[in-house]
C-alpha cells in the first residue's frame, strides 16, 4: 500500500466543507495542489492560512471553493492586495475569521498537543477580538490581581496541505526548517504532500535528514509536483515568476479577468488531459 498518488487523486481526498490548512507563500505554497482543487470543483472549504494567504488562497476564493477564510492576512506581497478576497468581502460571499499570526500558530500548536485551548498575550483592545466570538477573555488564574488574557480554541484542520522539496515513497517529507509545516501536519487529521522530487531512499534513515523530516505516520498521500509552488518562488530551487504574478494581480481585479485567467492557467490543463 503506497501513499504515492497523482496530483488529481490527491486533491480528490479533500471533501467539500473540509477545514484545510495551507502554509503562507514563502514556505512553499502548494499552488499546483490548489489548482487541482479548483479543477476538482471543491466547494465550501474552510481555508486556514498558516498564518496568512497569498495567491493560492485568493485563487481558491475567486474560483468559488471557499466558504470561510481564517488567516492573519492576505496579500500578493509586492504585487498588491488579494483582489478576489477583497471582492468576495465586498460581495459578502465568504465568512471571515480575521486573526493575528501568533494566534494561528498557537491555535495549531494547541491542536498538535490535543489541548482544548491556549492563551496568548496581546490582543486585548484589538477589534479582532470583537469579531471572534470563539476567542474568550478570562482573568489569568495565576495572577494576584486583575490580568485579562485571551484564550484561543485549538485548531484541528481536517486536512493540511504542504509542498516540500523532497519526499520518499513511505510518505516521509523533508520540511527543513519550515517547522510550521510539521505543526500543521501534527494538528491536522490528515496531511497531503506535494513534492518537487520523490526519492527512493528512506529520509528517516539518515539522522541529518531526519532532523528536518515530517514522518509518514502523519501523511495520507504524496504526489510529485515539479515546480509545484510556481509562479511563486520555492526556497533556493526557483525564483518567483514576476511576470506571471503581475499578470494574475492585474487580471484578477475583475471577475471577468479572473475567469479568463482561470480558464487559461488552471482549467485548460484539465481539458488537455
Amino acid at each position: 500500500m503506497s501513499v504515492v498518488a497523482d496530483l488529481e487523486s490527491l486533491a480528490a481526498q479533500v471533501p467539500d466543507g473540509a477545514m484545510v490548512a495551507f502554509p503562507r507563500d514563502p514556505c512553499g505554497a502548494p499552488m499546483a495542489f490548489a489548482k487541482a482543487l479548483v479543477r476538482r470543483g471543491a466547494r465550501k472549504l474552510h481555508y486556514v492560512g498558516v498564518p496568512s494567504f497569498g495567491m493560492a488562497g485568493d485563487m481558491l476564493i475567486g474560483a468559488g471553493c471557499v466558504a470561510t477564510i481564517e488567516a492573519a492576512g492576505g496579500t500578493l506581497g509586492e504585487y498588491g492586495t488579494a483582489p478576489r478576497f477583497a471582492a468576495a468581502l465586498r460581495a459578502g460571499t465568504i465568512a471571515l475569521k480575521d486573526a493575528t499570526c501568533p494566534a494561528i500558530h498557537a491555535a495549531l500548536q494547541a491542536g498538535q498537543k490535543g489541548i482544548p485551548f491556549i492563551p496568548l498575550r496581546g490582543l486585548i483592545g484589538s477589534d479582532l477580538v470583537k469579531h471572534r466570538p470563539d476567542w474568550k477573555t478570562i482573568d489569568n488564574p495565576f495572577a494576584a490581581g486583575k490580568d485579562p488574557i485571551v484564550l484561543l480554541p485549538a485548531l484541528r484542520p481536517d486536512v493540511a496541505v504542504i509542498h516540500v522539496a523532497l519526499a520518499d515513497r513511505h510518505g516521509n517529507a523533508w520540511i527543513g526548517r519550515e517547522r510550521e509545516l510539521l505543526t500543521m501536519a501534527h494538528a491536522a487529521r490528515r496531511t497531503l504532500v506535494t513534492a518537487e522530487e520523490i526519492v527512493d531512499r528512506d529520509l528517516l534513515a539518515d539522522e541529518t535528514m531526519a532532523a528536518g523530516t515530517l514522518p509518514a505516520l502523519y501523511v495520507a498521500g504524496v504526489a510529485r509536483a515539479e515546480r509545484g509552488a510556481a509562479p511563486l518562488g520555492f526556497l533556493d530551487r526557483y525564483a518567483e515568476d514576476g511576470a506571471a504574478l503581475a499578470d494574475y494581480a492585474r487580471r484578477a481585479r475583475t471577475a471577468d479577468g479572473f475567469a479568463a485567467w482561470l480558464d487559461e492557467n488552471v482549467l485548460a490543463r484539465r481539458a488537455a488531459a
Partner: protein, 248 residues
Amino acid sequence: MTETAIEELLIVTLARLIGRVRHVATGASSPIPGAAALLARHRAGPGMTVSVLGSRRHTFFTNGGVELFDCAGQGRLDVFFLGGGQIDGQGNVNLNATGGYPASEVRFPGAFGSAYLYFVVPRVFLFREEHSRRVFVPRVEFVSTPGVSPPEVERRGGPAALITGKCLFLFDRERRRFRLESLHPGVTLEEVRDLTGFDFDCPERVATTPAPDAETLTLLRGAVGRDIAEVYPRFAERVWRISPPKAA
C-alpha cells in the same frame, strides 16, 4: 542618482532610531524597515541580530514562522515595525479594513503579527510614506492593534515613533500622544498640520531630519540594496535600479 530619495531618508532615519540593539525583526511588506535594520547592523557590527521576514539569508530562525513571535514573547526582540492603512493620534493602527467590516469598501492586507507584537516588543516604529488625512485620522475605523492599554493589561511594548514621508514623530507614552520631532528637508509645520488628521504636540522650534551623508548613501545603494533585493526585488529595482536575483 545623487539626490536623496524619500525612501532613503526614511531608511536612514529609522536606522538611526534603531541604534545598536540585540535583535531587530521586520514583518511582511516592509522593505523600508528591512533596509533600515540591515543598515543599522552594518554600522553596529557583530553581536546585533537582524531577522528579515521572507529572507533566507537574513534570518537565524530554525523553528518556523512561530519563532519570531516566541522570541518576542521571551523578551528576545527589541525592535519591530508596523505600517498601517490608518493610524491615529493614540497610536492605534488599522491594518484590516475601512468602510464597514467584515463587508468592507477597502480591505487592507490584515493584522498579521501586529495585534501581538505591538504589546510585547519594547520599541515599535510605525512607518507610512504617504502622509495624508486619509492615513493619519482622528480615530481609526478598525483597531487592528491599540497604541495604548489600560493599566490592568500586561503590556511591555508599544509605539516609539512614527516616520512618514514628511516628518518624524516620537510617541509620548505618558501623554498617549505623538510629539513632532523633526520635519524632513523642505517640509513646513503648516504642511504637516494640514495633512495630519490627528492632534499632536509640537516643540517651539522643530528640527530638520538630518539627510544621509555620502558614505551612508553609498552603503545603502550598494550592500544594503543588494541584500534587501533578495526579499523585495521590485522595491530595490524601483529605488536603486538593482536587478532582481536570477532564478536558480
